[in-house]
Symmetry: C2
Subunit: 332 residues, 2 copies
């Protein structure tokens, strides 16, 4: 069976990296155990077994393989990255007061906010132990900086999301924090443990950064024009939750006085009534901001693909390139 | 003015370490800044400027000085330890739904739970960056393990605090997590960066571990017999919050059937009525558990003092010994 030419790039990566990903999953299960606190594996199993796409650990494995790495640390770092991701999901669900993630009830709903906060802390500590095991201070530096960028971006989002002064540059900082920082670090550490030359390490960072930004912009766009059945999210969740994302930010920037009053009422003051989402979508269509947002996502995907030029010509590189293309292709 | 013979050991330590502590405080202020998210310094300043006793960073500085260290890393590690402590306080206040800490409103009350969770994550990331700067993998290993023990202890407490099966060994695991793990790590890393011989590093760990346990047992005892004005806490808070601590655990272990039913109703089921706290105190007096708890605290303080025997004879060592004595002397 050769479906590689038609399968989604993510599935092709998963097939090529299957053995290493099995090792990553085994390591995750082993390290999320807790001798003393059975609540921990309960909460994490719920989240980890729900099986997200495991995109971040695959990026680490692919980056390391692409740079010729054969040792054991890529698997450790891939698990590290997934632990950090899972920890941020647990904390995000508390912050957003979410009731569902990946179509299942969130941990804070099944257990309580306390468990989500503390188990998140535990997973972050576990990730920290794993990366120390690699013995690479440079890897530790990269992941410490990524962690700070993630937390800073999340805090920034708290105040920026409902503030009409939030412009595209602030949005980009939030997106780098909430998504791109871990994508870029996941790619970069794969290169660093391989001992790859500096231009390749930089190319991996640039690829992950641009891929993460394209990914998040696409996600934010899908919230306004997605197929609810395919995304598992409700159309307009961000609007209802008063979260300014790129399509709305662009519409606010082009708003006349009356439109501005609409955004102030619905986003800043949160006084929404029936029909507001349709009106918001109408304003975005009027100003062409959905198309402009799509163009931005395309631009970041193209930057991700360009960055790969510094890396060895290899089927894995092609898959990473296709992945960047797919992130925006799913918008069509 | 020579008040050193009568001043509290903590104040004597603060006087001896004043220059280094000023550097620690300056570093904390510098590193809690955030270019992008002004909410971060607001929240942390509220907590950091409230000025706890800064006991943990002083332990790191004292341990390093006692081992002859003269370099810059002790200040960095002292700030690291205080950042970890502050991060756990922010998360604890969310978990406990606290309204006051150190006699001031908590950050989650002044801002929101979201800010407390995310700013805690930010401080933890900042601590991680600081420790990476020391370039010591052993220090990173110690602090990664301490972080995991802290988080595990906090999660364990969630399920153990209201479970009458919680015995003294489980209590000790919780106490090691919530208090002793950071005390012992704070002391140990001071020895490690000094390049101290292994028996001294171990002695510093043992001192911090026993000091932390004595400190937490004393704290839990003060909740049942403290002077409300001096502690700033209300008598019986732990009982009202259905949190089993050592005086109650010992009373449960000695309870007859009727007493056991009382503990089940008040702690496990949380159905408390007026007069229950007095009844609980009566049971603790009947079984002598307040005295027994005091004896345990004394025992751990003595172990802390014994551990210091492996360290150089020095006025700093005497202050650390006096500190262990003071932790339990405040119970009289």
């Amino acid at each position: 069976m050769d479906a590689s030419s038609v399968a989604k790039p993510h599935d092709r990566l998963a097939a090529v990296l299957a053995d290493d990903m099995a090792a990553v999953n085994a390591l995750i299960r082993a390290r999320m155990a807790s001798e003393h606190a059975p609540r921990i594996p309960e909460v994490t199993a719920h989240l980890v077994e729900a099986g997200g796409k495991r995109l971040r650990p695959m990026l680490t494995l692919a980056a390391a393989k692409l740079c010729g790495y054969e040792g054991p640390d890529a698997v450790k770092l891939a698990a590290t990255v997934e632990f950090i991701h899972t920890a941020t999901l647990l904390h995000d669900d508390v912050v957003d007061e979410s009731a569902q993630r990946r179509g299942r009830p969130t941990a804070n709903l099944l257990w309580d906010n306390q468990s989500s906060v503390l188990v998140g802390d535990y997973l972050f500590s576990r990730s920290f132990q794993l990366m120390v095991e690699t013995g690479s201070l440079r890897v530790l530096d990269i992941l410490a900086n990524a962690s700070a960028t993630i937390a800073e971006g999340e805090v920034l989002q708290l105040s920026a999301a409902q503030d009409l002064r939030t412009d595209e540059s602030v949005y980009l900082k939030v997106v780098r924090g909430k998504t791109a920082a871990l994508f870029s670090a996941a790619c970069q550490v794969g290169g660093v443990i391989s001992g790859a030359p500096e231009d390749r390490v930089q190319a991996l960072f640039d690829y992950g950064d641009a891929l993460g930004i394209a990914f998040q912009i696409a996600d934010d766009l899908l919230d306004y024009q997605g197929d609810t059945a395919a995304t598992g999210k409700n159309l307009g969740d961000d609007f209802r939750e008063r979260k300014l994302t790129l399509p709305a930010i662009k519409a606010v920037a082009l708003a006349d006085a009356e439109e501005r009053a609409f955004w102030q009422r619905t986003i800043e003051k949160g006084r929404q009534v029936d029909g507001d989402l349709d009106h918001a979508l109408g304003l975005m269509r009027k100003h062409g901001t959905l198309e402009a947002t799509r163009a931005d996502a395309d631009g970041w995907a193209a930057r991700a693909q360009q960055a790969l030029g510094a890396l060895p010509d290899d089927p894995l590189r092609d898959m990473l390139s296709d992945l960047a293309g797919y992130v925006v292709a799913r918008l069509s």
